[in-house]
């Protein structure tokens, strides 16, 4: 079964700082990769996803992530954060099978991001 690790559980940045949140997964086969964001008291929303093709994917609100297969990584980046980016960020992965099926999403433990004005 696949697993996901997010290296930073709590990150505190000032506005306009650059952001990079690490995500590594363990699974030897083909995967779909996702980043979700959860604003305080709200549900999870999709930021971006990678299924295939260009390993650099762009999402909403200026976020992007790069899939590096050799490193089993899918790090999330944003060049300049805003106070409104304060939220919980979850990396998630599911394994794809040759028959076309896939597992349910496995989530990392989340990174709590606080942006100070």
């Amino acid at each position: 079964a696949q697993s996901v690790s997010q290296h930073n559980h709590h990150v505190i940045l000032s506005e306009a700082a650059s952001l990079e949140l690490g995500c590594n997964y363990s699974y030897g086969g083909t995967v779909n990769l996702f980043w979700y964001v959860q604003y305080p008291g709200q549900h999870l929303q999709l930021l971006l996803k990678y299924f295939s093709g260009d390993p650099l994917v762009k999402g909403i609100k200026g976020f992007e992530a790069e899939f590096i297969k050799s490193k089993f990584s899918f790090n999330l980046r944003k060049p300049s954060v805003q106070w409104s980016d304060t939220a919980e960020y979850f990396c998630a992965v599911n394994a794809r099978y040759s028959g076309g099926g896939a597992d349910g999403l496995t989530f990392g433990k989340g990174t709590h991001l606080i942006i100070q004005p």
Binding site: N32, Q38, H43, L46, E88, A102, D103, F107, K109, G110
Partner: protein, 112 residues
């Protein structure tokens, strides 16, 4: 209109009670899920149904029983509630397994 809607949003109940959380999706998706988010924000899949059939059943106490009357609904029934069941329960759906998952707004369950 909310794509994945779940009720109730907040539920406070006593230990030992039986409660249900309902979920409906109007996206025409084939697959639905229940996830549990604990106090440390850790998200864990509980169940997944594809076209009303159970396809994922993680290690969950058998006090938790999902029911899917049709592919647009996946309800969660919990018997004999315990303090440790306090969490946020998220319903979700996807077109098929492996596709993007869309989450409901969560049901905050507190067992006292």
């Amino acid at each position: 209109d909310t794509a994945v809607s779940q009720t109730p949003k907040y539920l406070v109940t006593q230990m030992g009670n039986d409660k249900s959380i309902k979920c409906e999706q109007n996206l025409g998706h084939d697959t639905m899920y229940w996830y549990k988010q604990d106090s440390k924000k850790f998200l864990k899949i509980m169940f997944s149904y594809n076209n009303k059939e159970l396809i994922i059943n993680e290690t969950v106490p058998n006090r938790f029983s999902p029911k899917s009357p049709d592919k647009a609904h996946l309800n969660l029934h919990i018997n004999s509630l315990e303090l440790g069941d306090s969490a946020v329960y998220f319903c979700a759906s996807s077109r098929q397994t492996g596709n993007t998952i869309y989450f409901g707004e969560g049901s905050w369950l507190t067992v006292v």
